[in-house]
């Protein structure tokens, strides 16, 4: 088989496996796959900012939280479903991203200080939502849960499979969007900025404008992850929604899979879930329940990857599978 045929066959097999998974798997498998896809999607969104444009955000939980609270607030207080709520979420998160990006890039805050600025805004939002009683405050905001036997697409309610297909669609869409952008002008400009911002500027690239585009696109994409999170989880707490731990979790997938690669966020998310939740499940089978083991496994994985595979899991895996290593 030629390399092209093999790629096609492999992609087809993966696509079919993903499509029939809820039909053959049990609820646990579907929930684990949903989690992996959620991390893959959010990671893809984060990757636009850091992987493509080289701007390290450690505060992406801000956009997950804002998106989740925006859509959940509309649903709880006005009965407006997620199809309208997602636009509000995207609008709010784009504005927040644009605001932070504008401040940072106009005042030339970069590197560590940019990362700290993103953390600080996420923390400020956490404290702010703790005091926002209209959205539940520290006690949490709960979405009314209805019977889950039938699919109600309008209110985005249904059996676990509904959420699985929704996040699968989102992940595929994000992958297609990123693949498209990488081959067009934004992709080349972003990578030029990532590798050497001064050189990019010297070539006439309006670096401020393209960095802003990366931040706004990344935050808008993450907003949709927040909406999904709200309607999948049905409960929101500022302590969790805006936590530093969530920002780290979003970042782990692309870092482990391969920064700036298209398939890195997906491979990384799968590795995180397989090893993290796999270990937890294995221990649970033997009757041991250790809180923290999942994250500890994530930490060890991150440590090993940063030391031994600085480009992530995907580039070597791509070579083995016959894909072009897309380290762009």
């Amino acid at each position: 088989m030629s390399a092209g045929r093999r790629r096609l066959a492999l992609s087809g097999a993966v696509a079919i496996a993903l499509l029939i998974l809820p039909l053959v798997g049990n609820n646990y498998l579907v929930s684990v796959a949903t989690l992996a896809l959620f991390l893959a999607y959010a990671g893809q969104a984060w990757n636009v900012m850091m992987g493509f444009a080289g701007q390290l955000s450690l505060g992406h939980s801000l956009y997950v939280g804002l998106g989740a609270y925006a859509s959940a607030g509309l649903f709880v207080h006005f009965g407006i479903g997620p199809w309208a709520g997602v636009w509000l979420a995207v609008a709010i998160c784009s504005l927040a991203g644009a605001f932070i990006g504008f401040l940072a890039f106009r005042l030339r805050i970069a590197g560590v200080q940019l990362s700290l600025l993103t953390i600080a805004f996420a923390e400020l939002a956490r404290i702010g939502f703790d005091h926002l009683d209209w959205l539940g405050g520290p006690g949490g905001l709960f979405l009314p849960v209805s019977e889950r036997s039938h699919v109600d697409l309008l209110a985005f309610r249904g059996p676990p499979g509904t959420y699985y297909y929704a996040i699968l669609l989102l992940t595929a869409g994000a992958l297609a969007l990123c693949a498209f952008l990488l081959r067009r002008r934004p992709g080349y400009y972003w990578r030029a900025i990532r590798e050497d911002e001064v050189a990019a500027q010297a070539l006439g690239i309006d670096t401020f404008r393209w960095k802003m585009f990366a931040v706004v696109l990344s935050s808008a994409m993450t907003a949709v992850a927040g909406v999904f999170f709200a309607f999948y989880n049905n409960s929101l707490f500022p302590e969790q929604s805006f936590s530093f731990g969530r920002s780290i979790e979003i970042m782990l997938g692309p870092v482990i899979g391969g920064l700036g690669t298209l398939f890195g966020p997906i491979i990384g998310a799968v590795a995180l879930v397989l090893l993290g939740d796999g270990t937890t499940e294995l221990l649970a089978k033997t009757g041991v329940d250790l809180p923290g083991i999942r994250q500890a496994v994530h930490g060890v994985l991150l440590l090993l990857v940063t030391i031994y595979m600085p480009n992530g899991l995907w580039p070597p895996l791509a070579r083995v599978l016959g894909f072009e290593p897309r380290r762009l």
Binding site: L107, L117, Q295, L302
Partner: protein, 291 residues
């Protein structure tokens, strides 16, 4: 507006806590100033020291002020090994690669603590925990005063080391010009490891002091990492005097915000200050101007 003695008490309490904050941030600042390493595991090291003090008190009935000395030595050794074994390989790699390495350590330490000690809060109920000194209308907690005193002593020792010893001078030479230091034949890898050891040692002392002021949980790490960064940014990255000053500023503003606004406004004030400073004066109060 609360009566004046309350405000005065809050300010004094803030200064004393701020001294401990300052020592914690000093470790971060030294590590950044010399190795140019952004230590995202700083808060986790602090939490680890707090647990060490709590465990030593519970198991061996050791006073945290005794544990402090042992912990400083143990953390120094740990820091030396971490720097020599792992972090030195990352010198010359990109800034974010170094940050990711430290984040990996942070995740591991935080969750190993959760695995080992469980999620419940721990404290160190010493016999003098609730005592206080009375100075007229002022009330000063004994533990807070002792903690601040220990922090001052540790800071003074650290400053003396950097100013007076040959190794300290060599480390400052590395900070000024790593390439020049290498050319002059200084063992840069070893000196970096000594610096990280000193940073970890000061965090150990700060942790043993802090565990008497606040209960410890495994998830405390990120908050302290951020707090240390806020302090160091306020004072100016890499400036040791700045770290101490930043600690005092944050300590007092937290205490005043807790008294005048609401206890939960404490961290709001420090993060707000961080944003403001990053935007207005990113080099910090004491840092040299970059432009």
């Amino acid at each position: 507006m609360p009566a004046l003695p309350y405000v005065a008490n809050a300010v004094i309490s803030g200064i004393l806590t701020g001294t401990v904050y300052g020592l914690m941030a000093l470790g971060l600042s030294a590590i950044f100033g010399v190795i140019r390493l952004v230590n995202f595991a700083h808060g986790e090291l602090m939490t680890l020291a707090m647990y060490a003090a709590a465990a030593a008190f519970q198991g061996l009935a050791l006073d945290p002020f005794v544990t402090m000395i042992l912990a400083a030595v143990a953390f120094g050794a740990l820091g030396y090994v971490l720097q020599r074994g792992f972090i030195n390989r990352f010198i010359g790699r990109t800034e974010h690669a170094q940050m990711l390495l430290m984040i990996a350590f942070a995740i591991i330490i935080g969750n190993v603590l959760l695995l080992g000690f469980g999620p419940d809060a721990r404290n160190v109920p010493t016999s003098y925990q609730l005592d206080s000194f009375e100075l007229g209308p002022l009330l000063i907690d004994k533990v807070r005063a002792y903690a601040a005193l220990a922090a001052v002593v540790a800071t003074a020792l650290l400053a003396a080391f950097f100013r007076l010893t040959l190794t300290g001078k060599a480390i400052r030479a590395c900070a000024d010009n790593p390439v020049g230091a290498r050319v002059a034949g200084l063992p840069v890898g070893h000196l970096y490891a000594v610096t990280f050891a000193l940073g970890a040692g000061s965090v150990a002392v700060a942790g043993c002091a802090m565990v008497q002021l606040i209960d410890v949980t495994p998830g405390l790490g990120p908050a302290y990492t951020l707090l240390a960064f806020v302090i160091v940014i306020v004072g100016g990255l890499g400036s040791m005097v700045g770290a101490l000053l930043g600690g005092l500023v944050i300590g007092v503003s937290e205490a005043l915000a807790g008294l005048l606004i609401a206890p939960s406004a404490k961290s709001m004030v420090s993060f707000g200050l961080l944003v403001l400073l990053l935007l207005v004066r990113p080099q910090g109060l004491m840092g040299a101007s970059r432009r």
